[in-house]
C-alpha cells in the first residue's frame, strides 16, 4: 500500500508538469480556437534560452525569468506574424501551420544549440522531506507549488482583472468583443503570449528532470494533450485534473506493468484520450457547444 501511495505522489509531480503545459494548450485553444502542436517545441526553445543565460553567467533564477519574458515575446510575435493570417482558415490549414511551427521551432533549437544533450540546474534543492514513511522530494513539492501558483494567478487574472474579462469575452464572441471596444487582435496576441509564458515554465520544470535537447518535449506534449483533452480542451480546471490523472496513471503503469517497457508507456495516455473521447466527446469538464440558430 505504501508503495502504491508513493507512486501516486510521484505521479502527481509529473502530472503537475503535464498540467502546466496542458493549461497553456487550453489557453490557446480558448482564446484562438487552435490546438497548438508546436507548444512543446516553443517550451524547448524557452529552456534553451534559460540555459544560454546560465552559460553566460546569470544566476539560474534570473536566467529563467528572462527566458520566460522572452518566450512571451516570441509567443506574441508568432501569433501576429504566422498564426493571425490563417486564424480563420479551415481547421486542416491551421493544423498544418502549427505542425510547420513545430518543425520550425525544433529545427531552430537544433541549428542554434545543436543536438548534444545539455543539463539545466533545478531551482529546487536536492532535499527530501520525510512524512511518516513517505518521501517527498523538494523537487516534487516545488513543482506542485509552481502549478498551484500558476493556477491561482490564472484564476485571478481571468476572474478579477480587466484584461482577464476582455480575454474571456474575446474568446466567447469576437464580433461582440470588438463592439464593446475590446482591441481584439491585441487580446489574441496576449493569449498567445501568456500561453508561451506558461509553456516556458513547463519547459523549465522539465529540463532539469530530463536532459535538454531539441526533442526534449516530444513525449511531454503528448501527455499534455492527453491532460487537456481529459479536461475537454476548454477547461482550466480540467487540464489540472487531467494532468494529475495522466501523471498518476503513468506512474502506476510503470510500477505495476513493467513488461510494457519504457517505450510503450506512452500508450497509456493515448488510451486515455481515446477512452475519454469515446465516452464523453466534450471531455470530462468541457461544455458542449450548442449553436443557437
Amino acid at each position: 500500500m505504501q508503495y502504491f501511495f508513493q507512486q501516486v505522489i510521484n505521479g502527481i509531480g509529473d502530472g503537475a508538469i503535464y498540467a502546466s503545459l496542458g493549461l497553456a494548450l487550453v489557453l490557446i485553444y480558448r482564446t484562438t480556437n487552435i490546438a497548438n502542436f508546436a507548444k512543446g517545441e516553443m517550451a524547448t526553445v524557452s529552456a534553451y534560452l534559460a540555459w544560454q543565460g546560465i552559460s553566460a553567467g546569470l544566476s539560474p533564477g534570473w536566467a529563467m525569468l528572462i527566458a520566460i519574458v522572452l518566450s512571451i515575446v516570441i509567443g506574441i510575435v508568432t501569433y501576429l506574424l504566422i498564426v493571425r493570417p490563417v486564424q480563420y482558415k479551415d481547421e486542416l490549414t491551421i493544423i498544418i501551420v502549427t505542425l510547420g511551427l513545430f518543425l520550425a521551432f525544433n529545427s531552430f533549437s537544433g541549428a542554434i544549440w545543436g543536438f548534444l544533450q545539455m543539463s539545466v540546474p533545478s531551482l529546487f534543492p536536492q532535499a527530501n522531506l520525510g512524512i511518516g514513511t513517505f518521501r517527498l522530494s523538494a523537487d516534487l513539492l516545488g513543482t506542485i507549488a509552481v502549478l498551484i501558483a500558476i493556477s491561482a494567478s490564472m484564476y485571478g487574472l481571468f476572474q478579477r482583472t480587466r484584461l482577464g474579462i476582455a480575454l474571456r469575452a474575446s474568446a466567447s464572441n469576437a464580433t461582440s468583443a470588438k463592439l464593446v471596444g475590446i482591441p481584439f487582435t491585441a487580446m489574441m496576441a496576449a493569449g498567445w503570449g501568456l500561453a508561451a509564458g506558461l509553456g516556458a515554465i513547463s519547459g523549465l520544470l522539465v529540463a532539469p528532470k530530463l536532459t535538454l535537447d531539441p526533442n526534449m518535449m516530444g513525449s511531454i506534449i503528448i501527455y499534455a494533450f492527453a491532460a487537456a483533452v481529459v479536461g475537454g480542451l476548454t477547461s482550466y480546471r480540467g487540464a489540472v485534473v487531467g494532468g494529475s490523472v495522466v501523471g498518476i496513471s503513468q506512474a502506476l503503469s510503470m510500477a505495476y506493468l513493467p513488461w510494457l517497457g519504457s517505450d510503450l508507456q506512452i500508450l497509456l495516455p493515448l488510451l486515455l484520450i481515446v477512452a475519454v473521447l469515446v465516452a464523453k466527446p466534450e471531455g470530462l469538464f468541457g461544455s458542449t457547444v450548442v449553436a443557437r440558430v
Binding site: A166, R168, T175, S176, K178, L179, V180, R292
Partner: protein
C-alpha cells in the same frame, strides 16, 4: 446638434452594392427609427456606422469623421451596437456581460451603480446575474443586449431588430424600457425595425429604406401618417 450623421453613404459586400447614398441624422437625445423590408440595407447601415463594412461617403459622430477607425475604436468613442441575434457573450455570466460592456470606461464606482440601474430596469436579469448568458431565454438575452449597450454609456445606441423573435408582451416591455432609458438618460438611439408600430411610437424621427435607397424621412408622426408606409409596414 446631431450626435450621428451619415452623408451620402454607399456600401456593399464585395462587388454587390447594398446602400446607395444614404443620409440620415440622429439628434442629441432623440430616437430615430430606420424602417424597411428584409434586404433593404438596414443592417448594412448599422454595420457601416460601427465600422464593420467598408463604405463611401461620410459618417460623423459628434461632428468627428469616423473613417478609418476599426469597430473597437468606434465603440470606445461611444457607439454601442446591439447586433441582430443579440450577440451576448454566451459563456460569460449575465453580470460579466454587463461588466465587459463597460470596457471603455474607467469609472469603477459608477460602473457598479450603472449595473444596479440595468437590474432595476430589467429585474429578471438580477435574478439571473450568476447564470451564463447562453442559458437565458430570447427575451432575457435581448434585455441583456440592451443592458450591455447601456453599460458602454454610449453617445448613441444602435439596435438591430430588438423585437425579433420575441413574444408580443415582451416586446411591449422592451420598448417601454427603451423609452424610459431615452427619457431618463437622454441616450440617443437608432433603432432598426421591421415591426414598425412600436418603434414609431417611441421614435422622434423615422427613415424608410427601400432596396438600399432612402425613400422617405421625416418626423415619426409624419412617417406614421404616410399612406404608403401604413400600407407597407403598419398593416392598416
Amino acid at each position: 446638434m446631431n450626435v450621428l450623421e451619415l452623408k451620402d453613404v454607399s456600401a456593399g459586400y464585395g462587388r454587390i452594392p447594398v446602400l446607395h447614398d444614404v443620409s440620415l441624422t440622429v439628434a442629441e437625445g432623440s430616437v430615430a427609427v430606420l424602417l424597411g423590408a428584409n434586404g433593404a440595407g438596414k443592417t448594412t447601415t448599422l454595420r457601416a456606422i460601427s465600422g464593420m463594412v467598408r463604405y463611401r461617403g461620410r459618417i460623423l459622430l459628434d461632428g468627428q469623421d469616423l473613417r478609418g477607425l476599426g469597430p473597437d475604436q468606434i465603440a470606445r468613442r461611444g457607439i454601442a451596437h446591439g447586433v441582430e441575434g443579440r450577440g451576448t457573450f454566451t459563456d460569460l455570466t449575465v453580470e460579466d456581460n454587463l461588466v465587459v460592456g463597460a470596457f471603455r470606461r474607467r469609472d469603477k464606482a459608477q460602473i457598479a451603480v450603472d449595473i444596479e440601474q440595468v437590474y432595476t430596469l430589467f429585474p429578471r436579469l438580477r435574478d439571473r446575474r450568476k447564470q451564463k448568458a447562453g442559458s437565458l431565454s430570447g427575451g432575457e438575452q435581448q434585455m441583456l443586449a440592451v443592458g450591455r449597450a447601456l453599460m458602454l454609456k454610449p453617445r448613441v445606441m444602435l439596435l438591430d431588430e430588438p423585437s425579433l423573435g420575441l413574444a408580443p408582451v415582451i416586446i411591449d416591455d422592451l420598448y417601454d424600457a427603451l423609452q424610459r432609458i431615452n427619457r431618463t438618460t437622454g441616450t440617443a438611439m437608432l433603432i432598426v425595425e421591421q415591426n414598425a408600430n412600436l418603434a414609431l411610437e417611441i421614435a422622434h424621427d423615422a427613415y424608410v429604406l427601400e432596396t438600399g435607397s432612402m425613400v422617405l424621412s421625416g418626423t415619426a408622426v409624419d412617417v406614421a401618417a404616410d399612406d404608403g408606409i401604413r400600407a407597407a409596414y403598419l398593416g392598416h
